[in-house]
Symmetry: C2
Subunit: 362 residues, 2 copies
């Protein structure tokens, strides 16, 4: 009689206690409690129209998503929000890094909420994908405003192209307006093409400057000064006041060299301090005057119609280009053709024709 | 015996003298003598390279033609001229009507030919199709220059789009250069987008102004002042001299508000009189200094490469748009979609998507 157990193979396992599950059921229940079911477009719209910030944030996340499923849902939400949007003033604010945009927007935003306004602060910064949000990335810069229940701050959407980022911001404006925000501030850094994009979605365009900075710091891109409805010289405090006033005179003189605006509005220059709050309320008064004038002469409404059309055409043109340049055949030929053109081996027009033939033949 | 001739029918014709031919052989021979056979691309290229103005003019006519047969021929001529082109300085000149562009170009052009240069004067004016050449249409405005055998003046090509007009002018530059013209002046009116086009084909960009004119007259489009490598205040003669000098100071101050140029060149301001010729030679000295600087720092050559690439991409983008907007389906839907977008019935992005789907499905 043998008491020995038979081990048929080295792989035999003794029965024992089962190993603990990797994910504990308690943790699963805990996580599931927080993982809410994705609300339907209808639910989102209802939430937004009721002024629910969570619904607004979720809808914006949909708009910013690259998932094509989300895109369809986002379009549904936006189209349902459209009839409830548009009742706002949209203020574009630009200025190079260093002029104190964040502190200005915080002071200005707080002033607006103190007047009973609901303020949404958005941003257009195509570079934020790389820099991870050089603007508005750090909400701590607007400590006061972020705590204000009548303010909503959303960092720039990320995206590969300015067109994409701008589209997302513009759709976010619609959502914010439907959610009851009556003052939309769209921030951008004054160094790229994003100003044109912001200018094309704002009613009023404000250029923030400081005095006494070298040319590099003031170095804004071409045409931006001419877009401005107001130039505000920030940091007019302490020793800076005199210099700021001088800068104001100089910019005022420069503005007069530009042609009259279609709006009938004569751009203003002023100084302010985001720290002492001197001049902040005057900025809003200026904007209110602008609104009065342009609503009376109908420019305000005409411009919004034009902007809508502009964005439709821009989107089409952008898509046409994307489709062309992402075409495998073009992708393959573009670099060598560019080189040939640069070196005058073929005329730019003959080269373009060559590529277009290949594209349309496909 | 009957002497009567038989008339078998009423339609019988008596033999007689033949009627005179409608076109006289003498006239035909005379006309044929003047109707030269359309020269082949090869003959045109030979003529151009030999400095033959007739060949140059005929080649430009080919470039400007809308006949697709001519287009192929034009491309052949241009590609053969390319290796012989590019050895020139291309000067863009802009200014609103009334600043005296024609008299300035005449005085400036005469100065250049007196220095032994060969000067071609071209124009970009998309409006000329309608206005039949508001600029350069009337060569009598440049009476002196037109008689100068070292000068070649060609009015703006006509065309429906700025892109088309610009393309033709740019190809004409190549032909002129291959024909031995070492100084190309490209004129435009400072009121539209054509400045950007001219800026993109010029090495040096000159903005012509006058003093003491109201804002309307000075009213140039956004960004043009920032493009300028030199601002020249014309009509600085007689009672105007003091005012012109004041304007010079003011523009100089304004120029300093703009960011530094990539070329390393600091834009200049000066005054001149196209009538007394005061200050005209100084304009050329400025350009010569610009050339020295930018050829040394390589900007001149880099910019030309960039410009070539720019024109290739511009042509592609323009064609993509033309193809889309001329598509029968889009043509049919565009107006109603635009209206819906303007009235906020559909978001600009959803509308764009709708049209694009129709286009790409086709």
């Amino acid at each position: 009689m043998s008491n020995k157990k038979q081990h048929p193979s080295a792989l035999h396992e003794k029965p024992g206690i089962s190993p603990p599950e990797i994910i504990s059921p308690i943790a699963v229940a805990h996580i599931k409690k927080f993982r809410k079911i994705q609300p339907s477009p209808k639910e989102l719209v209802e939430g937004i129209l009721a002024g629910n910030i969570t619904a607004l944030s979720r809808a914006i996340t949909l708009v910013e998503s690259t998932n094509s499923d989300h895109l369809a849902k986002a379009n549904e939400v936006i189209d349902a929000c459209l009839p409830h949007a548009n009742k706002s003033i949209r203020i574009g604010i630009t200025g190079v890094p260093g002029v104190g945009k964040s502190t200005f927007i915080e002071a200005f935003g707080k002033h607006l909420t103190s007047l009973g306004k609901k303020v949404a602060v958005l941003a257009v910064d195509p570079s934020s994908t790389i820099s991870h949000g050089s603007i508005l990335g750090d909400k701590t810069r607007m400590e006061e405003l972020v705590k204000d229940e009548n303010a909503f701050i959303r960092p720039s959407a990320s995206g590969e192209t300015l067109g994409g980022v701008a589209r997302k911001t513009r759709e976010t404006i619609t959502l914010c307006e439907a959610c009851g925000f009556d003052t939309i501030i769209i921030e951008t850094v004054g160094v790229g093409q994003s100003e044109t994009a912001v200018h094309s979605m704002a009613d009023f365009f404000l250029l923030l400057k400081i005095s006494g900075a070298g040319d590099e710091l003031q170095g804004i891109k071409r045409g931006i000064m001419e877009m401005a409805d107001a130039i505000v010289i920030n940091k007019a405090d302490g020793d800076n006041i005199r210099k700021a006033n001088l800068a104001k005179v100089e910019f005022n003189r420069a503005l007069h060299l530009f042609p009259a605006k279609k709006s009938g509005w004569i751009p203003t220059t002023s100084t302010c301090s985001a720290i002492t709050h001197e001049g902040i309320s005057a900025v809003w008064k200026t904007i209110a005057q602008f609104l009065e004038l342009t609503k009376e002469n109908n420019y305000f409404f005409e411009k919004r119609k034009e902007q809508n059309q502009y964005w439709m055409l821009e989107t089409i043109n952008e898509q046409l280009k994307l489709n062309f340049y992402n075409h495998p055949k073009i992708h393959q030929l573009l670099d060598s053709t560019k080189k040939a053109v640069q070196n005058d081996e073929i005329s730019p027009f003959a080269a373009a024709q060559l590529l277009l033939e290949k594209y349309f033949k496909f």
